[in-house]
Symmetry: C2
Subunit: 138 residues, 2 copies
DNA sequence: TATTAATTGCACTTCTGTTGCATTGCTTAT
DNA sequence: ATAAGCAATGCAACAGAAGTGCAATTAATA
């Protein structure tokens, strides 16, 4: 039983060949992926399978969904410190306007926001757009 | 020449009957609207017309687009202090999980975010989700 | 091994955003 | 005042992503 199989298994996900491959692929990338990205990488597999696999990952809490404002949903593996389900202390995401990649800044938490009377925060989503470190290096 | 006509005219938008109606409708609402919302309100008009009208408003800087994470784009009139085009000091938006409305918190600016080395911010989008003042009153 | 449940593949549907083109309506110069 | 020209609108259709129903296959378990 490999590392990944154990990971899936311990989260109540049956470690099928497909799922292991998809998990491995997502783990290799350091940026959030759209369904189409995964589709490109696994052209032999059905879109629906990939879709449902990622949704399963999400339900089981090992992947979180990101809306980076591009109109396409992105997904990224939850890393240590991600805490996307446990508390409201959510990390922020960065979208590069140059290379179009979206990355999780797991260490960077969303600062506390003061809301007007009567408003109660349950969740927050902060996407900063600009130029990422790779692109600014040139 | 009415208030609205002057507003449109001074922003380089020809004040047609349709546009005046749409502007008036958006001004009445205190929350951001999706295209379908406007569509519901003007069932006699074409979707395309509404779409292009709002896009025109956006281009001319009297409306700003909001991605509240629901997957549907919302639009809201720019109010004094909105500054959506001028500087990067953007205000935040609140999405109510109960009534599903999205509102601009024009007075509440996005706090400064420290980014890792090499990252440069150009823009930011912060959506706080929770219960709005109307819904929490019950 | 037989039974049962979960996973995958295929075909569609829906929804939103968007564009091309013909037509209508408004502006302006003659 | 009228014709020419441009902007606005209506109609039709397309594109892309998200999501669903169902049959077929695969894996787990008794």
């Amino acid at each position: 039983m490999t590392e990944i199989e154990r990971k899936l298994d311990s989260n109540g996900i049956r470690p099928t060949a497909m799922r292991i491959l998809i998990y491995k692929y997502m783990a290799e990338k350091n940026n959030a992926l759209a369904l189409t990205d995964v589709e490109q990488a696994f052209q032999k597999a059905e879109r629906t399978t990939l879709y449902r696999t990622i949704k399963t990952f999400e339900e089981k809490g090992i992947v979180h969904q990101i809306d980076d404002g591009t109109g396409v949903l992105k997904y990224a593996l939850c890393e240590p410190g991600c805490n996307c389900e446990i508390d409201r202390d959510l990390h922020l995401h960065f979208h590069c306007n140059s290379c179009d990649k979206t990355i999780c800044l797991t260490q960077h938490k969303i600062p506390h926001i003061n809301l007007p009377e009567g408003f109660m925060a349950e969740d927050a989503n902060l996407v900063v757009k600009g130029i990422c470190d790779s692109c600014s290096a040139y």
